[in-house]
Symmetry: C2
Subunit: 433 residues, 2 copies
Amino acid sequence: MATVHSTADSTALLTDHYELTMLEAALAAGTAGRRSVFELFPRRLPEGRRYGVVAGVGRALEAIDAFRFDSDTLAALDGVVDEPTLGWLADFRFSGDVWGYAEGELYFPHSPLLVVEASFAEAVLLETVLLSIYNHDSAVASAASRMTLAAGGRPCIEMGSRRTHEEAAVAAARAAYVAGFEATSNLAARHRYGVPSTGTSAHSFTLLHDTEEQAFRAQVASLGKGTTLLVDTYDVTEAVRLGVEVAGTSLGAVRLDSGDLGVLAVQVREQLDSLGAGTTRIIVTSDLDEHAIAALAAAPVDGYGVGTELVTGSGHPTCGFVYKLVAREGTDGELMSVAKKSVDKVSIGGRKYALRRRSTRGVAQAEVIGIGTAPVDDGDDRMLLTPLVRDGEIVGREPLSAARDRHAAARAELPLEAQSMAKGEAVIPTVFE
Amino acid sequence: MATVHSTADSTALLTDHYELTMLEAALAAGTAGRRSVFELFPRRLPEGRRYGVVAGVGRALEAIDAFRFDSDTLAALDGVVDEPTLGWLADFRFSGDVWGYAEGELYFPHSPLLVVEASFAEAVLLETVLLSIYNHDSAVASAASRMTLAAGGRPCIEMGSRRTHEEAAVAAARAAYVAGFEATSNLAARHRYGVPSTGTSAHSFTLLHDTEEQAFRAQVASLGKGTTLLVDTYDVTEAVRLGVEVAGTSLGAVRLDSGDLGVLAVQVREQLDSLGAGTTRIIVTSDLDEHAIAALAAAPVDGYGVGTELVTGSGHPTCGFVYKLVAREGTDGELMSVAKKSVDKVSIGGRKYALRRRSTRGVAQAEVIGIGTAPVDDGDDRMLLTPLVRDGEIVGREPLSAARDRHAAARAELPLEAQSMAKGEAVIPTVFE
């Protein structure tokens, strides 16, 4: 069997060149061992968004665990760093501590999503892969959450694999599930993460057969009456009639993939009802985003299949998270705050703590960030940083369903304005204490 | 060593659920073996773009080669398809033919980028993974090509790994290289594809040290005077002075990562020249896209580091390519054209051929597409479909440098208007013959 890439088991090369050369220079200078605190955080929300969703935590923990330099990986670094650095890397295993927002949790500007404490050498090496995972997965989850909000209780199905990188597709399906999607079309996401998978059929299946009737009979014979028939290859009205004739009134669903979905859904619902197929559902697909989903709220639609706009973050394909050194060991051995002074890219030095301030009725009121010390819980608040890695050991693993449940609960705490699809400010303010 | 995902060697699960259930239904109906022609093509260019760039061809060929169902993969499909289908998949190996545009080639609306001829069963299974690879890699290459055009002869360096999925990052670095980028920060792209890698240093490296001078001395001692010093952590003028003091007038380069890059570049160039460091280059980074690069054309900049906008396709993170059945075996055993009839998603049935019509002076004039038969070369034209897979054997492998050279040559054929960064129509028309 052909091997697509030979270092799939290690994540160590999913890394920027300069992380390794900084390591080399710091090792030579004797500063690589200085205790350091790095923070992964957003400077802002994507323009117009009311909140963001943290996703990728579980994947990031696996990436830390798999960040090892085996002989193949070391050989690949020949010419990048010197021999002493290669020797240091051969023994590398992350031995520090990581705290972070749990998966599915919401975020706001400056939320300290990850706090990594280790030697500079160990912490800097993780920068690229942690940012890659968080920036991608959280962008998808943040878009997905708006879609499931817009859909109300109706199920959303992730179908975007073909519109994004083949491995990003698997992570996107996972992130969408965290943010409330019911299922995915992606089989690798089913296999790796247990996300329920589902599917209908494509126009090619209808076109393969001599008649639409032959195609429908083949599908129903194989997949049962509960299947979803695609009814817009030729004429929708004729296809709906035919579908009920072939499968009977217990036909599972029909799928509409083109045209004015709102108008068609009304027509098809009336037709299905008149044929006695009152329980047959109507699934719509075709370049949906959260706005299109919201616009269909009054239409008799039973489910949404979402592709391109989900996997590309609905206009915001990356979160813009950064990973900054906020404190490091000084010459006195104590941690000291550090921060860059550039005008347009301000960072706030010092180790951060965070809680979600809530009213006595449990409504979120503010993202409270403490610098150097933890903010005080007023009694109804929720602490946001949890231990993820302790002395190099992964302690933050959890089932994906826990992240999904957490997301639903955290979103339910938000003020009502969070449900608006219109552009606006963050729904709660970020407050430094 | 931890395993990040257990089916990395097979691409068969990077697939939509419905490809498998369509297979099951077609096998049961006796139609799975019908000879079929699928075509992968764009309905249009991204809004405002003058041309697109084909990338991912080499990756797609490896994905076809690795599309096998080993025992782990088959076990993962338990509950998705029935036993007879699992039995059929166990022996699966693509045995058909594929023709396509070579990597680095340009594309226009309806260009037949891939033509896949095989049984329906074999061809339909490849749909999702082929689209994933082409849609992602071509989106990045299309953005990258505009950036290298805007940069004129100045080098562009790909630095976007942290802003996209960790595996998409590797493919993005590869695609950018095809479209003229000089190097990448991504070490896995160096390892897997031989893309040159490079790096400077981060603000964290400066902040780790007690003074900027200590940081600069550490970097120069380890990486040599030819290194690139990051000069905007505190005060740019002081850092440039210090950099030349530490490394001497043969300092390789300085990097500016914030502020008004055009103004700063002029100031820093004057300062470097006045210090006698006339050969020290100025590298700029910080949310660059093709428009920002073009705006810096008159500034004394020696290289561009591009991140977010490159890996997210500069506003167009996916190409919208589709994969459609255009012909299949009829009851008479002959291939017949087929096409969906939906109003807003028209496909054109029939097998396609394509050539780039050129003037006697070698300037591209039209994308000529033949339906059913190849268009006639007027003497100065270029045929665009090349054999990629023959009877299941990959015949289209080539070094990445060939794709890079092809891209440069194909872009040089375009009319001058292709160089405009303003929104416009495709720079040559698509003509059906």
